[in-house]
């Protein structure tokens, strides 16, 4: 016998109204990646050589840099959404799960930050 009212027990236990957010952002990033990933794969395979001069000249072009940044950010975002679900499905125990999810988030933010930094550095002429 609890002194809590039925309403008090039910409050907060239901939907947080955020269930569709993961689904929707996954679809949005997927749609963007259809185009960005095809552009990236075709561009990489089209480069005549992968020596430093060729690659840095390619990355210095305005649209290449912009599309590369969009690709890295969108891919990291989409990857985070996907790996998060894998962890949620296969890592058991609330402590391990929370820790794994935190690491997944940190890792993807770091990957995106490093990628964007590297692209900007080359594109803006900081590389020697």
């Amino acid at each position: 016998m609890s002194l809590r009212s039925p309403l008090g027990r039910a409050l907060g236990a239901g939907s947080a109204k955020e269930g569709v957010h993961h689904w929707w952002t996954q679809r949005l990033s997927a749609l963007a990646l259809v185009f960005l990933s095809i552009w990236f794969v075709v561009s990489i395979l089209s480069l005549p050589l992968h020596d430093y001069a060729t690659v840095s000249a390619w990355m210095s072009q305005g649209w290449t840099a912009v599309l590369l940044i969009l690709f890295v950010i969108t891919a990291a975002w989409h990857s985070q959404l996907g790996v998060r679900v894998v962890v949620e499905d296969y890592v058991h125990g609330s402590g391990m799960k929370a820790l794994s999810l935190a690491l997944v988030t940190f890792f993807h933010v770091a990957v995106a930050a490093a990628g964007v930094f590297a692209i900007l550095k080359v594109a803006l002429g900081g590389a020697v």
Binding site: A30, L31, V34, L45, S56
Partner: protein, 131 residues
């Protein structure tokens, strides 16, 4: 908290059906591509590090084991792209009848194999062969 049922209750499913195989392949190829993202950022950071740093990185990235990784990435890309498009079509409410879904499973399987063969051929015949 009471023990509650967990979602991947593998024992209740019949495995090796097209739906199970296409689903787990999509997930697996996605994880492979996530690993590829690390290689991509390593490569980008190497370019940002200048010509000498890039030379060191390229020596690693051009090794045989990395060539295998690129083939795996192209295979994962080919499958994940088509399986993802299949999901986007499903999201519009189309193609969800069992016969249609079996049909599209075969379709993405065959087309992704062809796409992978084409991309792998492109990668292997062109000069360099690095990322």
């Amino acid at each position: 908290m009471a023990e509650r049922p967990l979602s991947p209750h593998l024992s209740v499913y019949r495995m090796y059906r097209y739906s199970v195989l296409t689903s787990i392949s999509n997930r697996f190829s996605g994880v492979v591509l996530s690993a590829g993202l690390i290689a991509l950022v390593y490569w980008l950071m190497a370019v940002a590090g200048g010509a000498r740093a890039y030379g060191h990185a390229l020596a690693i990235l051009s090794s045989g084991i990395f060539k295998l990784l690129y083939l795996a990435l192209l295979a994962a890309f080919s499958y994940h792209l088509l399986a993802g498009i299949r999901h986007l079509v499903w999201d519009t409410g189309r193609g969800m009848e069992r016969a249609q879904s079996q049909h599209s499973a075969w379709l993405i399987g065959i087309v992704s194999l062809l796409l992978f063969a084409g991309l792998a051929w492109w990668m292997l015949v062109r000069a360099g062969g690095a990322p």
